[in-house]
């Protein structure tokens, strides 16, 4: 067995230098709740682990231009317990809350949930629906990207060698906005999403939906932003007819697989149901907020 190095740099620059300069596979270690399982199963054998939890900008939650920026290595439980953030983005928190048990959320991070690149990641659809932007740092400096551009397929991202996602920026929200994430699992907890749906919408003063984003999880090779589903809501009062069109558009966008967690037929049908339920909750939240 080859030796595995472990480094815990204190700065981003040092982390990037380690990750981009490594011989063999180098893995960023944040919460480790996926990485350690894969290491244990022997499916990955990194030569270098770079623990990024000691880097302050990756582990902080700060207000920024009326929105929030949180570090990619912030444990999920810290986000859940951050009252102001949870109040501002309840739909994102819906997703974050579903990432494993309390124990797993004590370690797991949203950055890891995204970069692990599972189509079923629970935080990703609501982040995409929210219009979140990731900060990325690599050997060639910093860049930003919409969340939906990071994952390209199961286990695959658009990150270049040595690049890591450092933060998530959730923009300032207009009034009368609400978001929600619903997923389907056979158990109430401790499951991987069979289907997930995140909806983020904004109403005008008259209660008409002016902006909406709908994103589905676990129904394709990566989380799917579904403009047709959003279009079903925009310009409506999110009434029963609009919700029905939303559900149909969501189901129509699915291109799922059959696997141990669900069948194609089931996923397609339930995607519409989850999208509708998420939209209903987002609507309730939008109406509650001024």
């Amino acid at each position: 067995m080859s030796e595995m190095r472990y480094e815990a740099p204190r700065t981003l620059a040092a982390a990037i230098a380690l990750l981009s300069g490594a011989n063999g596979q180098a893995s960023a270690l944040a919460g480790g709740t996926d990485l350690l399982i894969r290491m244990r199963a022997g499916s990955v054998e990194p030569a270098l682990l770079v623990d990024i939890k000691g880097i302050p900008e990756m582990t902080s939650i700060v207000a920024e231009n009326g929105g929030y920026r949180f570090g990619a290595a912030v444990p999920c439980m810290e986000l859940v317990e951050h009252e102001a953030f949870s109040t501002a983005w309840p739909g994102v928190i819906d997703g974050v809350k579903l990432i494993g048990s309390i124990q797993v959320k004590g370690r797991a991070t949203v950055g890891g949930n995204l970069c692990n690149a599972s189509p079923a990641a629970d935080s990703v659809p609501p982040l995409i629906a929210a219009g979140a932007v990731v900060g990325i740092v690599g050997p060639n400096g910093r860049r930003e990207s919409p969340v939906e551009n990071v994952v390209t397929g199961p286990g695959k991202t658009s990150l270049a060698k040595g690049e890591i996602v450092t933060s998530f920026l959730l923009p300032r929200r207009p009034p009368h906005s609400g978001d929600a994430y619903f997923r389907f699992t056979p158990r109430t907890e401790m499951d991987i999403a069979v289907v997930g749906a995140g909806v983020n919408l904004t109403l005008d003063d008259g209660g008409v939906c002016r902006q909406a984003r709908v994103c589905l999880g676990a129904v394709a090779e990566r989380a799917l932003l579904v403009p047709e589903a959003a279009a079903a809501l925009i310009g409506t009062r999110v009434d029963a007819a609009a919700l029905k069109r939303l559900a149909a558009a969501a189901s129509a966008a699915c291109r799922p697989i059959d696997d141990k967690r669900g069948t194609k037929e089931f996923r397609i049908k339930v995607a519409g149901v989850m999208a509708r339920r998420a939209a209903e909750m987002a609507l309730t939240r939008a109406r509650r907020k001024n």
Binding site: P186, R187, T188, D191, I192, K260, R261, V270
Partner: protein
């Protein structure tokens, strides 16, 4: 909450109370030692290499590179274990064939399932052991495999054993097959009775294999000395059985092997047989060092026996007045890689709850490329009860009777014949049904998308061999030693029965689980037998001690022993004319131990008969999400005849645990294989045992109809509770959606499909 129905007032001081268990504190402080918690100086780590193929011939195994790795002290294969004669040993219901067993411990000619052990190493660290496994080269000739029971029964199915001729068919078939055995039980004339029945209901069912899901993976520590003497520390349901099987598998004398019982982290039948113990001991024999093996969860799922999956057809005929006149069941069970599913139990218990004059029960034991099945809580019986209780429900609906009333009308009573011959001799079935009829929840209204289901279930329970020793210490405290593993509170119940019998306080009795060299033979803690059979041994040993104490009191008083009685924990004169003496307490007599004859000790071994069966009736309310097929269990009420609850909290706990496992079995638990014959959900993420937020409170009703053959009326309580659970949930879901569910688990896609096909129809 919990309710107890007591048919008689009891005059007991300890039995029926709820004291703190004696082994409790170490279990809440982390100090209790389970199988993986033992270590010895110089200990090595053992690891097992497992087959990646579901079916393959082993052409060769080259261990030389692993052997040469620094830090590796031994590598073993099946060549290190003796061959065994091909013969079935023991009563048919639990027969063992060591030719098969040794092949399951370590593959010989072929690997028969993914995860089958093929070699093992012992090394100075876990990392080195892991690396050594990668260096073992196995040359496999991959063979076609078969997973499903119906497919395995087809004439063109790949054969696991090319020469296996089905047992139980006359004349014997001339062609080999994967059907290891056919069994049939029959009473009356089913054909004629079906012809005469007013209504006939017939349906076929399938169930997936499920795992016991004990939280503690198999683990042991073994030490083999150069003189042939050996010791094993293991968590099991019976250290005497582990000793016997391990010694046999290694070809050593039982007298040379001492097995120490570790605390056991759940078994439910799955730890009745050894998996790691023979391997660790063989590695120790080969290396000269103690060896510890701890399975991973993946190994537990892939290599330790689950309960069988099945394919079944049940048919019953009823009269218009609600009397069941005939029943027939065909039960095809997956045995896994070698013969030995519990299909015989399934056939015997299936119709046992009912008084049916004409019955035929046919069972098939079928090998396929899955891990060898193991016992799981009333082995085989929840599966056949699922089919039977579904059809019983359909029949009740067909003739328009309330399902509990229908069951009550047909219930077996003392004198009702069983399919296997003897008549029922115990009461208690009726009372569980009546208890639920009286339960306020049973008549509570249901809302849209909700359904209520009921089911009953029978389980034999068990008696058999147990030993107990009672030592009276000089300060009046008492040690109770038995050879029965304590799965969930039996030390408490045994101590309670000892305290009650001796007439002393519960906290003056200290119970232990003694190792195989320190007490007489005790059979498995399985079959709901421990509180019954080991309880009898404890009570008998206490009575022997009382006889001894009476004799000492007589000596002190200078009277005849028969003039001394034992009452309320004291020796007293048998009557006014026997002399006027102050009562002598156990403590007072114990203090005079050395001058009245020396140590006060009694050991009793029994082969307990007089077993009374377990019987449970349950109802369950569910709500089905019509858009997703998800089932939420809203309420679960279980009534079980427990004979007498020695420690009611632990009896309730058995019922709650059995019901919870039944709910998991019914809704989401299953072994899922891919087309390559590999298990795809060998972990707790995708093998979905219920979590706390999945379950409701589980209400228990302890029906106490005492067993006259036990000093305190005990019937076993561990298993009957799971027998009806699968069917209760299935009947509830079927009623909620208005479609009969015929396959377990009722996972959301299946329920949604049933709902949608109902809509379409």
């Amino acid at each position: 909450m919990s309710a107890t129905l007591k048919p008689e007032e009891k005059k007991l001081k300890v039995v029926g109370t709820r004291p703190i268990r004696p082994d409790g504190v170490p279990k809440v402080t982390g100090l209790a030692r389970y199988g993986a918690d033992y270590s010895l100086p110089g200990m090595l780590w053992g690891k097992i290499l497992r087959s990646p193929h579901p079916h393959a011939r082993i052409r060769s195994i080259d261990t030389s590179k692993a052997q040469a790795l620094p830090g590796v002290k031994a590598v073993m294969t099946s060549a290190d274990l003796p061959e065994h004669k091909f013969e079935y040993v023991g009563p048919e219901r639990v027969a063992v064939n060591f030719w098969h067993m040794t092949r399951n411990i370590m593959a010989r000619e072929k690997v028969l399932y993914e995860g089958h052990a093929v070699a093992a190493v012992a090394a100075i660290s876990r990392s080195i052991a892991d690396e050594a496994l990668r260096l073992i080269e196995v040359d496999y000739e991959v063979l076609p495999h078969v997973i499903d029971v119906e497919e395995a029964m087809r004439p063109d199915a790949p054969l696991l054993f090319e020469d296996m001729i089905t047992r139980g068919i006359e004349p014997a078939p001339d062609k080999p097959s994967n059907v290891s055995k056919r069994i049939e039980f029959k009473i009356g004339d089913p054909e004629a009775a079906f012809a005469a029945a007013d209504e006939i209901v017939e349906t076929s069912f399938k169930t997936a294999p499920v795992h016991q899901g004990y939280l503690e993976p198999q683990a042991c520590l073994a030490r083999f000395d150069p003189d042939g003497q050996a010791e094993v520390w293991a968590s099991s349901q019976g250290h005497f059985v582990i000793r016997a099987l391990t010694a046999r598998l290694l070809g050593m004398d039982i007298g040379n092997l001492r097995v120490y019982p570790a605390e056991i982290g759940g078994g439910f039948g799955g730890k009745n047989v050894p998996y790691v113990e023979p391997v660790a001991l063989a590695l120790s024999r080969k290396s000269g060092h103690p060896v510890k093996i701890v399975m991973t969860r993946e190994e537990v799922f892939k290599a330790c026996g689950p309960a069988p999956g099945s394919s079944m057809t049940v048919k019953i005929g009823v009269r218009k007045d609600g009397k069941i006149v005939v029943a027939e069941g065909v039960f095809k069970f997956q045995a896994g890689a070698v013969p030995g599913s519990p299909v015989m139990n399934a056939c015997m218990c299936a119709f046992a709850p009912y008084d049916i004059p004409n019955v035929r029960s046919v069972g098939y034991d079928v090998v396929c490329n899955r891990p060898k099945t193991a016992a799981y809580r009333a082995p085989g019986t929840p599966v056949s009860a699922y089919a039977v209780e579904s059809v019983v429900d359909m029949a009740a609906a067909r003739i328009g009777m309330d399902p509990l009333q229908f069951r009550l009308k047909n219930i077996a009573r003392p004198g009702t014949p069983t399919v296997w011959g003897p008549k029922h001799t115990h009461e208690g079935f009726t009372e569980t049904i009546q208890a639920l009829m009286k339960h306020p929840g049973y008549s509570a209204p249901l809302r849209k998308n909700q359904g209520r289901g009921v089911a009953s279930g029978y389980w034999f329970n068990n008696g058999g061999e147990s030993s107990a020793a009672v030592h009276v210490n000089e300060d009046g405290t008492v040690l109770v030693a038995t050879g029965s593993a304590d799965l969930s509170g039996t030390r408490a119940s045994l101590a309670m029965m000892a305290a009650e019998t001796l007439g002393i306080d519960y906290d003056k009795v200290r119970p232990i689980v003694a190792d195989t060299a320190s007490i007489g033979y005790g059979h498995l803690a399985a079959g709901s037998r421990t509180t019954f059979a080991t309880g009898i041994a404890v009570v008998e040993a206490c009575k022997k001690v009382i006889g001894n104490l009476r004799a000492r009191a007589a000596m002190i008083w200078e009277v005849n022993a028969e003039d001394v009685i034992w009452e309320d924990g004291c020796a007293r004169p048998a009557g006014g004319n026997k002399g006027r003496f102050e009562p002598l307490s156990l403590k007072a007599i114990a203090a005079k131990r050395s001058v009245t004859g020396g140590p006060i000790v009694a050991e009793v071994s029994v082969n307990a008969g007089g077993v009374a069966p377990g019987f449970a009736t349950e109802f369950c309310d569910v709500e089905v999400d019509p858009e997703t097929g998800q089932v939420k269990v809203l309420r679960f009420v279980a009534a079980q005849d427990v004979g007498r609850a020695i420690h009611p909290s632990y009896v309730e706990g058995q019922i709650q645990g059995g019901a919870a496992q039944g709910i998991g079995w019914a809704l989401n638990e299953e072994y899922i294989y891919d087309t390559a014959g590999r298990l795809t959900n060998a972990g707790f993420l995708d093998y979905r045992v219920p979590v706390a937020s999945d379950l409701p409170r589980i209400e228990t009703v302890l029906v106490e109809v005492p067993n006259p053959n036990h000093p305190f009326g005990v019937k076993g309580v561990g298993e009957a509770n799971i027998v009806p659970s699968l069917a209760a949930v299935s009947n509830a879901v079927s009623n909620a959606i208005g479609r009969r569910m015929t396959e377990l688990p009722m996972s959301p896609p299946k329920v949604l499909h049933a709902i949608d096909s109902g809509r379409a129809g």
